[in-house]
Symmetry: C2
DNA sequence: TTTTAACCAGATAAAACTATCTGATTTATC
DNA sequence: GATAAATCAGATAGTTTTATCTGGTTAAAA
């Protein structure tokens, strides 16, 4: 198999994009998140806990508790979520698995791949989660 | 962790690119391949066997046996190797892990990601392994 | 015909990733 | 207080990926 983001990261992105559709300040319990997204509860709970540590979301414990964004949606970039969960290794690591892949010791596809990788990095860095509110809502309504 | 190609696929690409630097018709034993590339022998053997089944390389058994390309290097595209090992799921699957991601039920980043994915697919489809001979040799000499 | 050097096939092991379970702690309401 | 509903923490289990092991088969050369 081949993967871009780990399952952890995919679920994390889904969950944070979902939280971005909610009213600022209101808190959403995991049960609602996994109910809407159809993803495994215990697993996602762990991911959300780690995103709390990363400072991307916060949690309110106890009855009527839940999760909410820790900052304005316009301040949370897709790359922040990826970096918090999978790290940014993807953007440093040689795509062919060669060691010491760099401009001075480039792998065969170093240049060709470098362009694609930079474009992906730039997209994830430019896009903030506030921009996906409508699209997230319509995707979720189709699930 | 996050990955583009599986380790299998990375090793497979390395090995086939290496075979492309060899004289046409000459056969290279696994020992030489893993000696130059510094990758695990038994694992790579399995991968090479599967590439024989896929028709990308052929093998010669017995003493002075080994592996060689089954076609002209200019006829082997990077995408052929990826397709044989990892499959092309990467280019169909939703990057956020949503089910039924399509133009009619797009995930939030469907359009943005689609462009990047198409560019990657096009690159792998356009590039044939004959184009990387020199770069492969210089990378290997630095290992 | 024996030896040697290679590929081949199946089983097994080790590691990483994905997922679940159990119980504890927190907090709002009755 | 007692109860209910939520997060939190640590242990465990299942699955996939990565890697190794053992022995068999093939083919060239002495």
């Amino acid at each position: 198999m081949t993967v871009i983001f780990s399952k952890k990261c995919e679920y994390g992105l889904q969950a944070v994009l979902f939280l971005a559709t909610k009213e600022t300040g209101t808190v959403t319990p995991v049960d609602e998140i996994v109910g809407k997204l159809n993803i495994p509860k215990e697993f996602v709970s762990k991911i959300l806990q780690s995103l709390v540590e990363s400072g991307i979301i916060f949690s309110k414990k106890g009855k009527f508790g839940g999760f909410a964004l820790a900052k304005a949606p316009s301040k949370i970039r897709l790359i922040d979520i990826v970096a918090a969960i999978d790290g940014l290794n993807l953007f440093n690591r040689c795509v062919l698995g060669f060691p010491n892949c760099s401009p001075t010791e480039p792998c065969p596809v170093h240049d060709k791949w470098g362009i694609l990788r930079t474009n992906a990095y730039d997209m994830l860095t430019e896009e903030t989660i506030d921009k996906f509110k409508d699209k997230t809502l319509s995707k979720i309504s189709s699930l």
